[in-house]
């Protein structure tokens, strides 16, 4: 019974589907309003997804690799404006070195800031002076800005609340200076110098 219902529906929807595929050149999304990725970005997305697939399966066996290629290709075609970690990544040796240094710096900052926050939490008086300061960033690429905001957020003590053009609004547990340039040097400059080499 279900089968018949499904077949009926299928026949009805088949004509619709042909129209749909013509109408929406990109299958799932309405892309009239948002930027389409070029071939290079799609290739990058495809490779990243394939890498994740291999990591998920934990094996390089041929069968799972073939299935991974099919799945990644399907997602790349369907979700054409997707980003990946390496979109807009400059594939130069300096960028790779900067990437490694960035992660080392990031984890160092993460642990340092965690200890600082631990001292605040454990001290009975809670020596905090919260406030929202405004800092400036020079980064232009979407991934670079996302990574910068995420890095600032993940370091305890600072929390990105809004990005508006070149301005970042950052909530700090202890505000050290309200001057824009000084706050920029304290909060942003460390991450930015690496991210600028990586993403531009």
């Amino acid at each position: 019974m279900t089968a018949i219902g499904l077949i009926n529906r299928d026949i009805v929807s088949y004509s619709n589907q042909c129209i749909a595929i013509k109408q929406y050149g990109e299958l799932l999304l309405d892309t009239k309003t948002r930027p389409k990725n070029g071939v290079r970005k799609r290739a990058v997305l495809f490779v990243t997804l394939l890498l994740f697939w291999v990591m998920l399966n934990g094996t390089l066996a041929v069968d799972s690799f073939i299935v991974g290629i099919v799945v990644s290709l399907a997602i790349t075609i369907l979700f054409c404006s997707g980003l990946s970690f390496f979109t807009e990544f400059r594939a130069t040796p300096q960028a790779f070195i900067a990437g490694i240094l960035y992660y080392i710096y990031f984890f160092k900052e993460l642990i340092k800031a965690n200890f600082r926050l631990a001292v605040i939490v454990l001290s009975p008086l809670m020596p905090i002076k919260p406030g929202i300061v405004k800092v400036r960033t020079r980064l232009k690429s979407r991934m670079g800005r996302l990574m910068l905001a995420n890095s600032i957020t993940l370091t305890p003590g600072t929390l990105t609340m809004e990005i508006d053009g070149e301005w970042l609004y950052v909530h700090c547990v202890t505000v050290e200076s309200t001057d824009i340039d000084e706050a920029t040097a304290q909060i942003v400059a460390g991450f930015e110098s690496y991210l600028e080499v990586m993403y531009g």
Binding site: M55, L117, V121, G131
Partner: protein
């Protein structure tokens, strides 16, 4: 007899748990919402990552999956904190009296004239719910 790898993994587990405990304590003790986000959501991220690293030391064959969990956490956790903090700021959550500056509010009050109608619509209906 345990190997050095196992001991390292165990110690990392306990260190991660200590950070989680500090996060919970911070969530309980901090005076206002934004500081709670800082203490709660951030410290727990480091704690969880340390615990994942400890598990990777104890079972190296799980390494890839643990790495993936860590990567996903590193991207989802700040996203939710940011969206939450933004929403809270839009709704004018009261901050603790120690708060010194709020440059975002200044920026918004300048822009507010253009967005006024929307925030009015969203705010008025729910304030009753919020305060009850």
């Amino acid at each position: 007899m345990e190997s050095l790898l196992d001991i390292t993994g165990g110690v990392l587990l306990v260190a991660g748990a200590v950070f989680l405990l500090l996060g919970g304590l911070g969530l309980w003790r901090m005076p206002d919402l934004f500081n709670r986000i800082q203490a709660g959501a951030k410290t727990t991220t480091l704690g969880t990552i340390l615990i994942l690293a400890g598990a990777a030391f104890l079972h190296p064959e799980w390494g890839f999956k643990l790495l993936l969990i860590g990567i996903f956490l590193l991207f989802t956790n700040p996203l939710s904190s940011q969206v939450l903090a933004r929403a809270a700021h839009r709704r004018n959550i009261e901050t603790s009296p120690q708060t010194s500056v709020d440059m975002l509010a200044d920026a918004f009050s300048q822009k507010a004239t253009s967005e006024n109608d929307l925030s009015e619509k969203a705010g008025s209906d729910k304030d009753a719910e919020e305060k009850s």
